[in-house]
Amino acid sequence: MISYYAEKMSIENNQLLRISTAGSVDDGKSTLIGRLLYDSKSIFTDQLEAIETTTKRKGREGIDLALFTDGLRDEREQGITIDVAYRYFTTPKRKFIIADTPGHIQYTRNMVTGASTANVAIILVDARNGVIEQTRRHSYIASLLQIPHVIVCVNKMDLVDWNEDRFLDIQQQYEGILSKMSIKDVRYIPISALEGDNVVNRSENMSWYQGAPLLHTLETLHISSDLNKIDTRFPVQTIIRPQTEEFHDYRGYAGRLESGILRKGDEVVALPSGFNSRIKSIDTFDATLEEAFAPMSITLTLEDDIDISRGDMIVRKNNQPNQVQEFDAMICWLNSSPARPRGKYTIRHTTNEQKSMITEVVYKMDINILERNSEDKEIKMNDICRIKLKTTKPLMIDEYRDNRATGSFILVDEGTNETVAAGMIIS
């Protein structure tokens, strides 16, 4: 028998929605994800059997939905999540990717990782506790990483007698912390992940709530306009030169259009060289296109034979990014070795790579109380700081809030090759 949710979805109109969740051991995050997967019929029978067996072995009854999201052996043994885990489910309306991250401060770097590609953040608030330190932390990260939509799920409503006043009170508390952040779209949903109220199915216990349940909200969230369709940015990944008889003179610039739209015949400029040309063709394996839009992977050919290599950027003549060697950025430090004062690191920005140096630590953000600390200049793992950065050659940048692709970067330690920081450009 084919269930409603296992029904073959139509591919044509279905979009991909990337969700980030963060939570601590007790706030019911794993239960919520388990509930979403279970009620949308995305858990397979052999997975369910494995969970039932484990639940029984632990001396508990029924199905502990939280167990479904436990990944690595160390985590299963300790009952905690230590790394970003990705979950997948599909409904007839959308395909969903959940980046499931631990919520403890020690795992800020994982939350940042999960948030970097998300369209929407689910922030869980325990109805009994209201807005706490952890809520501020998660929300700040959602704001810092500019996740376009935030859904605040007030969970465990069953433990506060499904009380509407309690829900409204928490909503008000949350609006209080929003003033310190830049979150554009916030919604509130009262739920009980354990009982299933307002997760997939509408709650019968909270008839006072007129909004949609969580899944329906996720299925209908308008995300097409989240991606910047104005500022055309095409970082070149690699050059395609077939050197065959048929394509003797072919020279294509392969990359992903990170934002904006390009059409055949458009006047473009290659940066940093500044040479002008026109789009001769937009090629893909399947067809030559009249126009392309983000986030399509394409190959461009130009009318003129100009020197372009990996790390260069093709943009419109009348809409160019800033070319700078010094800028301010917020960074999250990801590595257990602290940042070296005036340390030199390799910076990866789009497909471009340069040397860089942290010239100044402006302030450190205390993400629990949302206050700046200008005294403490040491950057340690999980710290979020505003810094000044200098690069050996100009980068083609936009502000992160305008463009996630050309406003983001990572720092790599040349001594270890590890990714040590994630950065968001301010100006």
């Binding site: 279905n14 052999d46 990705y86 940042v112 294509g252 390799t346 692709a405």
Partner: protein
Amino acid sequence: MSKYYLNYLGELESEAIFVLREVAAQFRNPVILFSGGKDSIVVTHLARKAFHPAKFPFALMHVDTGHNFPETMEFRDQLIQDLGANLIVGSVQEAIDKGRVVEEKGRNASRNVLQITALLDTIEGNQIDCAIGGGRRDEEKARAKERFFSHRDDFGQWDPKNQRPELWNLFNGKHFQGEHFRVFPISNWTEMDVWNYILKENIAIPSLYFAHERKVIWRNNSWIPVSEHLNMDERDSPVTKKIRFRTLGDITITGGIESEADTLEKIVEEVAAMRQTERGNRADDKRSESSMEDRKREGYF
């Protein structure tokens, strides 16, 4: 005005092509790990698309357990010929003959674990710095935490607790001599996505995926094909069934399911209605709750 968004399959394809182009740009000697299974076939197809109209800059590498489905080998050789690609073979039989590994004994013996040594030897011997695989995060819980760019130390080992953070689409493939990367372009695809894509793109796959009559025995809750490599005794009674395979691996441990799905359309329909994960028929994953994680730590695919 036309719509300016990609559907989910289009976005997954674009993401995979981006990842494959990053591999070409960041590594000196990358290969595609090719098993003849649908996932590595899809990765190979995506590689064709990513570098069109040029040939893709990767050799195909096959870790040959010696216990193959003949159909898989025919398919592999035909594809190599069609693409004009190079093939590198890592042979488990050779590793056994050289005494690098010892063959498992008994009724449930398999060469699955032995592949690790053959794989790592071949990577080292050919100075491969990146092996592109068809691994997907939805396959298994240890894989749910895998990165797109997954670092391996000079013993080929995966350290799940010390993985490089991966943000936005900034992939860091920097490595020292002797280390290598495993890259998984279709990390974010599910089994359903793979089948929908094969159907949409009309990609050729081995006949084993379609329902066919075959002599099989019932073992470990699935239909194991009878072959010269299978250890059988009086407890086994071979029967002929109409089956198909959901995954392809070593012929001694890859179980089939009873099915009437003999076209791509029917397979997509069947997979959509499935209530069991595809690896539910793989004896290698059933050895213990963390068997995949343990093998991955050692250097498995």
